[in-house]
Symmetry: C2
DNA sequence: AGCTTTTTTGAGAGCGCTAACAGAATATTC
DNA sequence: GAATATTCTGTTAGCGCTCTCAAAAAAGCT
C-alpha cells in the first residue's frame, strides 16, 4: 500500500519512506503491472486513435502528432484504421471501449452514422479530428474549412479568373462539404457562376475532366478540395496535355511535400496538420482528467495560403 | 468457469451448455474484461509497432499493413515512434514490454545498440523490419537491398554511363550500408570507379551536389539510396539547374507515389512495402503462438526495377 | 447391478493492484 | 498532561478472470 501511495503521489507518505521506496524500486527494477491497475478500475494510460487510413499522408502526420503528444503525457496509443468503412469504425470503437482505453481520437468516416451517437454517449471521452460529428456532441478539432475555401477562391479571383470550377472527391465528408459550400457561397456573392464537379473517386478524375474541358464550360481555374483530389486533377491534366498555370490555374486544399518539387509548383491552402493532432490529444487528455468545460469544445485552427506557381502567380 | 471454458473453446463443455452460455452472452452484451485476462498471465492479444516516424511514407505504409494483418488475427496494435533516437527506442521497447504486448514489430534505429540485445533476449518475441539486428538474433524481414542496388547500377551501366555516383543519407542504417556496399562491389567488378557521397542529412544534399558537380568527378548518373535522399537530390539538382534525365541520370531506391507526376518521371527500385509489414506481422504471430523454428527466420523479399524517364530511358 | 472410466460442472484460490478502513505515531490545542 | 487533530503505515477485501482440484453426471465395462 505504501508503495502504491508513493508511486501515485498520494499525500501522507513521509519523505523518508518515500525515498526508501524509490530506492527499492530502482534496485529491484520494479514496474507496476498495468493489467492489475486497469483491473482495479483505474486508468489504462492509453488512448485510441482511429483514422481511415494511416498510409494517407494527412493522417500519417496526424498519427505522428497524436502519438508524440500522448507520449509526452505518459500515454500509449492504440492505432486502428476504419478503412473508410462505417461498420469497421463501429467495430473498432466498440473494441476500444471494452479494451479499455481512456479516450479516443477519431476521424469519423461519416459524420451522421448512428453508432457515433452511442459512442459519444459512452463513458469514455471522444474527440473528433478533421471532421466533427453532426448528430452528437463531442469535442472537435478542425481546420478553417470555409475560410480556406474562401481564401482559395479569392486568390483565383484576384488573378481575374471568372470561370472557376470546384473539383471534389469524398463528398460524404463534412469537411469537404464545408469547403464546397463555402466555394459556392463566395462565388454567388461575387455574382459569378459556381460550377462544381463531384467525383465518386479519384479514378473518375480523368473522364470527368476530359468531358469538362471538352465542354463549353471549360474552366479558367480549378479549386481542388483535398490532396487526393488535387493529385488526381494534376495527373488528369497532364494526361490531357493541359498545362497547369498556363492553360488552367490550379489551387488545392491541403499542402503536400512534393508540391514544391513538381513543375509548376502547386499553390495550396495549408492546414496545420500536426497542430490538429496535438490539439485533439490535448483536449482528450483534459477530458480524461475531468478538466474542460461541461459543454463541448469546438476548436477551429487557421489555414494559410501558400502561393506558388500553379495559380499563375510567379515564373 | 464454464463461461470461461466456453469462450476459450476448451474441450469438456457440453453442447447444450455452450449454447446456453452463448445465448446469455449475446443477451447481456457480455465482453470479457481484457485487464483481468492479462492479469491471469494470459495473452494481451496485442502487439507493439515501433518505427522511426509514422509520417514517413515508407513507414506509414508499413504501419497500415501491420495494423491490417494484426486485426485479421484479432490482435490490436500499439504504435510508438523512436524518432530515430536509440534512447527513445529503448524506452518505448521497455514500456511495451511492461504494457504488456505479446510481441513487437521493430524497425531498429541502429542495428548495433546494446539495448537490442537485452530486448531480443526478453520473454516476448521481436521481429525486425527493413533493418535486421546485427548483435542479436531475431526474426527479420527485409527487401533485397543488395540485389536492388545491383539492378540499379546494372540499369545505369546499360545506358552506357561509366561515371556513376552513389548518394546516401542515413548511412548508420544497415539497409543503406548494404545498398552502398553492393553498389561499390558491382562497379568494382565492372572495373569502374565506385564513387560515393555520404550525406549526414538531407539538408547537406545541395552543398554536397554543388561541389560534386563543380568538380572534375562530375557524374553522369546518380544512384540515390532511399526516398528521402532521392527527393533531396531532385531538389538540389533543380536548384542547380541541372536537368535530370538529360544532364544527369537518376535512379532511386524506394518508389514514391509522385515519381509518376514530376517531370521527368523518376526511375526507382520498388520495395514491396506492404508485403514487408504483412510478413513481419505473420512471423511475429507465429512466434507468439509458439510456432516457427527454433532458429531465427530471415526473410528477404524481392524488389523490382520500375523504369521511367529519369535514367534517360523514355521521355 | 456394481464398478471403473470419461465427460461435464463448480468451488476455491490467486494474479497485482488500490479503495476503504483501522491502528500507530506525531503534532496541536486547551 | 490529557484530549484532540493530524499524519503516516498497514490490513483486508475485491476488481474479473483462469488455474487447480474436487465432485457430479454420463458412459462403458464386467
Amino acid at each position: 500500500m505504501t508503495v502504491s501511495r508513493t508511486i501515485n503521489g498520494h499525500p501522507y507518505v513521509s519523505d523518508a519512506t518515500a525515498k526508501r521506496v524509490q530506492a527499492a524500486i530502482r534496485k529491484l527494477g520494479y514496474r507496476p503491472n498495468l493489467a492489475a491497475r486497469m483491473l482495479t478500475g483505474q486508468l489504462s494510460k492509453s488512448i485510441g486513435l482511429i483514422v481511415p487510413n494511416v498510409a494517407d499522408p494527412f493522417f500519417s502526420v496526424i498519427s505522428r502528432a497524436v502519438q508524440q503528444a500522448a507520449r509526452e503525457a505518459g500515454y500509449t496509443v492504440w492505432l486502428a484504421a476504419s478503412d473508410n468503412d462505417p461498420a469497421t469504425e463501429e467495430a473498432e470503437i466498440e473494441q476500444m471501449t471494452h479494451h479499455p482505453v481512456d479516450g479516443i481520437v477519431l476521424a469519423p468516416v461519416n459524420c451522421r452514422s448512428k453508432h457515433l451517437k452511442v459512442a459519444a454517449a459512452g463513458s469514455i471521452p471522444i474527440v473528433t479530428i478533421d471532421r466533427s460529428i453532426e448528430i452528437a456532441s463531442t469535442d472537435s478539432v478542425e481546420a478553417e474549412n470555409r475560410a480556406g475555401a474562401n481564401m482559395a477562391v479569392e486568390h483565383l479571383m484576384g488573378h481575374g479568373y471568372t470561370k472557376i470550377h470546384c473539383v471534389a472527391t469524398d463528398f460524404h465528408l463534412r469537411s469537404i462539404r464545408l469547403r464546397v459550400e463555402a466555394f459556392e457561397e463566395y462565388l454567388r456573392r461575387a455574382k459569378l457562376p459556381a460550377r462544381k464537379l463531384i467525383l465518386s473517386d479519384t479514378a473518375s478524375a480523368l473522364p470527368g475532366l476530359t468531358s469538362l474541358f471538352g465542354s463549353r464550360q471549360r474552366p479558367q481555374a480549378i479549386f481542388a478540395t483535398n490532396n487526393a483530389c488535387t493529385i488526381a486533377v494534376i495527373e488528369a491534366l497532364q494526361t490531357l496535355g493541359i498545362r497547369i498555370g498556363r492553360d488552367v490555374a490550379l489551387i488545392g486544399f491541403d499542402d503536400v511535400n512534393f508540391y514544391t518539387i513538381i513543375r509548376p509548383t502547386i499553390t495550396a491552402i495549408s492546414q496545420p496538420v500536426s497542430e490538429l493532432g496535438r490539439t485533439a490529444t490535448r483536449l482528450l487528455l483534459e477530458r480524461i482528467h475531468g478538466q474542460g468545460p461541461a459543454e463541448e469544445v469546438r476548436v477551429t485552427l487557421p489555414v494559410a495560403l501558400i502561393t506558388r506557381a500553379s495559380c499563375g502567380c510567379k515564373r
